[in-house]
Symmetry: C2
Subunit: 231 residues, 2 copies
Amino acid sequence: MRLVIARCSVDYAGRLSAHLPLATRLLMIKADGSLLVHSDGGSYKPLNWMSPPCTLTISEPSDEQREAGVSALWTVRHAKTDDLLVVSLYEVLHDSAHELGVDPGLQKDGVEAHLQKLLAEQIHLLGDGHRLVRREYMTAIGPVDILATDAAGRSVAVELKRRGDIDGVEQLTRYLELMNRDPRLAPVAGVFAAQEIKPQARTLAEDRGIRCVVLDYDAMRGIDDGIARLF
Amino acid sequence: MRLVIARCSVDYAGRLSAHLPLATRLLMIKADGSLLVHSDGGSYKPLNWMSPPCTLTISEPSDEQREAGVSALWTVRHAKTDDLLVVSLYEVLHDSAHELGVDPGLQKDGVEAHLQKLLAEQIHLLGDGHRLVRREYMTAIGPVDILATDAAGRSVAVELKRRGDIDGVEQLTRYLELMNRDPRLAPVAGVFAAQEIKPQARTLAEDRGIRCVVLDYDAMRGIDDGIARLF
DNA sequence: AGTTCAATCTCGACA
DNA sequence: TGTCGAGGTTGAACT
């Protein structure tokens, strides 16, 4: 990885055209040839960049450019899409190279999967008499998070989210529409379960006869840990 | 901006939990206190990060950690969400600080708004006899991209996307439901227009009687440029 | 400040 | 390999 701090301007042409006026920025060249242009603020997204696979060419500026103060030109071209990024360097304030090696990568610890497991184990949270049929019940348009039955033996489809918004309700609605056409399942009631349910989502859900259940993740985990400690 | 190359491990706890095993990486501390952890490959997204507003605290490792080889601990806590990022530094290979100043920011030339403008100008692409009523036609639940009339004078609501997926169909469906209750507009036909329409989205749309139109952006722009050249 | 919607989205899973 | 769906999405425009 090569790190360069420089006064530069940047032009990009690809899906859109974009320009960065002259300013001091960090230029990061990764081992795969990709380039990131970062400012000293904002989020993790660079001001501009070129994704791999791409190639960086360093060239001399034209006389006109040199007269304007440009000391070098970096041209980065994408290997497949022909997207083009041109960095005009005016002054280099820092330049260093480093060997980092291959990264072992991020290990993600899913929480939604855990939430599903916990709710399956504590299916009574849906109401007295509920029984688990199965997790990830497959339908033609995808898996329903949890299929259960209520005290009267009727089917209950559960859509599970960490943060319940309108999309989750739409998703569950599509599942319910489909499942209610299956005579072996119909009638199927819907439950929208989440740690937190947005007011709009609740309104939409209840308008469609879908019950909303707010889950307390910490409490569920606490009980689960308690069970785990028993064995 | 401070740039540190170090052998380190990283732990994150927030929306999800994640861990980065010991390896050599770039740590970028921006002026607003945010932290980025980059490897020497991949795209512009860091392996891990903390967005502003947040605060970085540098502390001494515990005896146990020191014995394991940790020389320093960086703890970054988000100001609002309490998300936590902990970097355990084992060996610092490079450390430098730089003054970058405020960035003037990126100047973009948009594409999406342009597509709407082009379709409004070339409304015949919807079919012979179509006429534009207006762009961004307001309804109670938001603006419909384009409202037009067909050859028979019936209302046509157009939802425009660069890539047409299932969400866009749901959105248009909600608009149509609402507009068809308005006696001045009803009956309103729906058109789902995009540069590219996903098979699932097309199926759902057609099942609901919504017509799909695939747009050729380059051709539309070409015609537009041609018109521009005439004047 | 909250909401909605696009993105040079990125990224992983799955057919 | 393409397609599809989710993201610690991010970011911008608008209410």
